[in-house]
C-alpha cells in the first residue's frame, strides 16, 4: 500500500495540465465549447513545441551499484521470489548463448537473443499472475521462462520437432503456450497490439489484465497508433510494455522518432504512462504491479516505456558491428547490466553468493545441453500436418492437395527427406 501511494505521488508530480479545467475556465467569460477539446482560450500565438514539456523522467529503484535509491520504493519480495527472478535471468542468458551458437553451427535455422533486456522480461512477468494474458513481439523469451515454459519446450520449438506444440510451422523463437496464457508470436510487427486491446476488452470486468510487449521500432507502425487509441476510447485493461532498446535492427531511435520517446505518446492518447529503467528489475516489477492494479480497478490502459539497450545483435541474420561501435556495446554489457545490477542487490541482502552462482551456471548449462541434444534427435511431425489447421476442418480442396502429395510421394518420395518426419 505504501508502495502504491508513493508511486502515485511520482506519477502525479509530472502532471503538467490544470487538474480542474472547469475551475480554470471560470476565469473566462466565454469558455471555448468546441466538441473536439475541453480547454481554455489564449491570445498568445505560439507553438506548443516538443520542448514545451520536460522529458518524462526515468523511474528507478536500484542505482548502478545495485543499491536501493529510495528505501520506500523497495518492493517487499521474498527471498524465494527474488532468487527465482535472478535464476531465470541467468538461465535465459545461458540458453541464449547456447542456442545462438547452435545457429552459428547450422543446427537451428534462426535465433534471437535477449541480452541486456532480461530485467524487462522478468520484472514484468513476476508482477503478473499466470492468468494474465501475454501478447509479445519476439524478444520476450524470459516472460515465458518465468511462467514455466521448460528448456525442452524452447528447444523443441526451435527445432520444430514432434513435441513442438506449434507443430513446426513457424520460425524459431515464435513461441506460444495456451496453458501459460502466452499468445503465439508472429513475425509482423505491431499486429499484436490492437489484438491485445481486443482481448483486454473481452477480459474487462474480471481480475485479469492483458500485457502487450513491443519494441521502439514497432511503436512507429500504424497498428501501435490504432492500439493506443482503441484502448483509451474503449476503456481496455491492457498494459502496453515498450522495450525501448535504442535500435530497430540498424535504425537508431534518432531515425525512429523526434519526440520524447514512446512514453510521451501515452498522455496524448489519454493513457497513464510510466517511463522506467528497463535494466532495473525492481523498477520494472513495481511499475508493472501498479499498472495492473490501475488497469483492473479503472478499466483503463497503461503505457510503460522501459529504457534499455540491445546488447546482442538483432538476430542471427544480423551483424550489429556494421552500424554501431563495439565500444558502445561493451559499455552496456559491463556497466548497468540488469543481471549484474540485480546480483549486487541480492548479494547485499545475503541471498546470493559466488558459490551459488557457479552451481547455477553449471546446472543451467547441463540442463540446456541435455534438452538440446534431446530436441535435436526428435523426429518432425508427419508431413500431412502441413495441410492441417488452415481451417478447423480440412476443406475438400485442401484435402485434394494432400491426396495429390501422397500420390507424388509414393513415386518420388526418395527425393525428399521423409525419414526426418514421423511415419
Amino acid at each position: 500500500m505504501a508502495l502504491r501511494r508513493s508511486l502515485k505521488y511520482i506519477n502525479g508530480a509530472v502532471k503538467m495540465f490544470p487538474s480542474n479545467l472547469k475551475q480554470a475556465c471560470k476565469n473566462y467569460s466565454d469558455c471555448p465549447n468546441f466538441p473536439g477539446a475541453k480547454t481554455t482560450w489564449t491570445e498568445q500565438l505560439q507553438f506548443t513545441k516538443p520542448s514545451s514539456y520536460a522529458p518524462i523522467p526515468v523511474y528507478r529503484v536500484l542505482n548502478r551499484k545495485g543499491q536501493v535509491a529510495a528505501q520506500q520504493m523497495e518492493p517487499n519480495l521474498s527471498e524465494d521470489v527474488l532468487v527465482k527472478m535472478y535464476k531465470t535471468m541467468t538461465t535465459l542468458n545461458i540458453m541464449d548463448k547456447i542456442l545462438y551458437e547452435s545457429q552459428r553451427q547450422g543446427r537451428i535455422s534462426f535465433y534471437m537473443t535477449s541480452y541486456g533486456e532480461e530485467a524487462t522480461h522478468i520484472g514484468s512477468a513476476a508482477a503478473l499472475d499466470l492468468d494474465d494474458l501475454v501478447y509479445g513481439q519476439y524478444r520476450e523469451t524470459g516472460v515465458l521462462m518465468y511462467r514455466g515454459f521448460t528448456l525442452q519446450q524452447f528447444v523443441d520449438q526451435c527445432y520444430g520437432n514432434i513435441d513442438d506444440k506449434g507443430k513446426g510451422k513457424q520460425m524459431p523463437v515464435h513461441y506460444g503456450s495456451k496453458e501459460l496464457n502466452f499468445v503465439t508470436i508472429s513475425s509482423p510487427l505491431g499486429t499484436q497490439m490492437p489484438q491485445a486491446v481486443g482481448s483486454a476488452y473481452a477480459l474487462k470486468g474480471t481480475e485479469r489484465v492483458v500485457i502487450c510487449y513491443f519494441g521502439d521500432g514497432t511503436a512507429s507502425e500504424g497498428d501501435a497508433h490504432a492500439a493506443f487509441n482503441f484502448a483509451a476510447t474503449l476503456g481496455c485493461p491492457v498494459i502496453f510494455f515498450c522495450r525501448n532498446n535504442g535500435y530497430a535492427i540498424s535504425t537508431p531511435v534518432s531515425q525512429q522518432y523526434k519526440g520524447d520517446g514512446i512514453a510521451a505518446k501515452g498522455p496524448s492518447y489519454g493513457i497513464n504512462t510510466l517511463r522506467i529503467d528497463g535494466n532495473d528489475v525492481l523498477a520494472v516489477y513495481n511499475a508493472t504491479k501498479l499498472a495492473k492494479e490501475f488497469s483492473i480497478s479503472e478499466k483503463k490502459p497503461v503505457l510503460i516505456e522501459a529504457l534499455t539497450y540491445r546488447v546482442g545483435d538483432h538476430s542471427t541474420s544480423d551483424d550489429s558491428s556494421s552500424y554501431r561501435s563495439m565500444e558502445e556495446v561493451s559499455n552496456w554489457a559491463t556497466s548497468d547490466h540488469p543481471t549484474k545490477k540485480f546480483r549486487l542487490y541480492l548479494q547485499s541482502k545475503g541471498f546470493w553468493s559466488d558459490e551459488k552462482e557457479t552451481a547455477l551456471i553449471t546446472e543451467a548449462k547441463n540442463d540446456i545441453l541435455t534438452a538440446f541434444s534431446l530436441g535435436e534427435q526428435k523426429t518432425k511431425h508427419k508431413w500431412t500436418e502441413m495441410y492441417e489447421d488452415v481451417y478447423k476442418f480440412i476443406p475438400p480442396h485442401i484435402k485434394k492437395q494432400q491426396d495429390d502429395m501422397k500420390k507424388h510421394l509414393e513415386k518420388y518420395g526418395k527425393h525428399y527427406s521423409l525419414s526426418s518426419f514421423k511415419q
Binding site: L133, Y135, D164, K165, G166, K167, K169, Q170, H174, G176, S177, K178, V183, T184, S186, P188, T191, M193, P194, Q195, A196, V197, G198, S199, A200, Y201, A202, L203, G222, D223, H225, A226, A227, N229, F230, T233, L234, D389, V390, Y391, K392, F393, P395, P396, H397, I398
Partner: protein, 363 residues
Amino acid sequence: MALNSARKIAEKCGKCAERRWFSHFAYSPDENVNIAGEKAKMNMFQAINNALDSALRTDSKAIVFGEDVGFGGVFRCTLDLQKKYGKERVFNTPLCEQGIVGFGIGAAAAGLTSIAEIQFADYIFPAFDQLVNEAAKYRYRSGSLFDCGRLTVRAPCGAVGHGALYHSQSPEAYFAHTPGLKVIVPRGPIKAKGLLLSCIRDPDPCLIFEPKVLYRAAVEEVPLNDYQLPLGKADVLVKGSDLTLIGWGTQVHVLKEVAALLKRDYQVSAEVIDLVSILPWDVETVCQSAGKTGRVLVAHEAPLTAGFGAEIAATIQENCFLSLLAPVCRVTGADTPFPHVFEPLYLPTKWRCLDAALQLINY
C-alpha cells in the same frame, strides 16, 4: 433560397434523375424457400439487422462494432441494436480499419464472438495485413493453440450507380488468395441473413461482402426464425442444358435476366449458378454443370485480370477439358479503377453478358 431552387430543379428533372441513377439489374427474389416458420417482408439491410439481432440474442458473448454502428450504421444494418443490447455490446470504434480488425481478432481469440463492420469494402485494405497475415494464419501458426474463428467481418461491396473508385469495389479476389479465410457474397435478403448467421457461428474467420446496391433494392419474404445456410456451397438457381452462367452478388440477377433473354429470344437453355462462397468454393457444383452444358460464362464486377473468374475458368478447363465445347468466357469489370460517369460502360451488363453468351453458343 439555394435549397428551394435546388428542390425545384430536382422536381422538374425527376426523369433525368431516374436516368442518372438507373439500375443495371432487375432484382428477382428467391422462390421456393424451404425454411419453416413465419416470414416477413424485408429488404437486405433489414434482413442483416435481423440476423445481427439474432446473433446478439442467442450469444451473450457476441459484440458488434465498427465506424458509426452505434447509431444504426450508415446503411442502417445495425439500427436499434445498441438500444437493445447496450453500449458494451454494440459500439463505435475510432476511425481506423487496421484497428477494427486487429481488435476483432483479439476479442475473438479471448472468447468473444466479434462481428466487425468495415464501412465500405473499398476501405478494407488498411486491414489487409491483419486479415491476411494474422486472422487467416492464427490457427495454423499456433498449431491450433489459439484461433480467431469467432471473427466475422462485414463490408458493403460492389457497384451502386455512382460510387466511383472508392464506394464500388469488389475485392473478393484479393482474399480468395488467402488460405485460412472464408469469403462469402450473398445475393439477397434471405441468403444474407442465413449466411451471416453461419459466418458468425463458423469456427473460422469469415469475410462477408454485402452488395450495397441490394440493401434497399432487394425485398423478399424473409423467415423470422433463426436459420443458417451452408458456406462453401453454390446454388443452381435456373436449370439449363446449353450453357452455364456463373456469378455472385448482384451479378446473379443480371445473369438471371440474361438467361431469360436467351430463352425467350434465342431458344437457348442457360443454367444460372450463384457461387455464394468465394473461398472455399463449390468446385463440384460448378464442374458438374460445366460438364453437362460444355459452355461456361463467368461474370463479376471486379476487374478481369486475376479476378476470381480466372480461378474458376482454370479449374473448369482442368476438370472438364473433354466436355468443353467452347473456351470458358469471362465477362467482368474493365482492368481500370472503377469510374464515376463511365459506370454503365464499366459493368458486365446484361448486354455484354448476352453478347458473350451468344458467341459461346455459336463458337
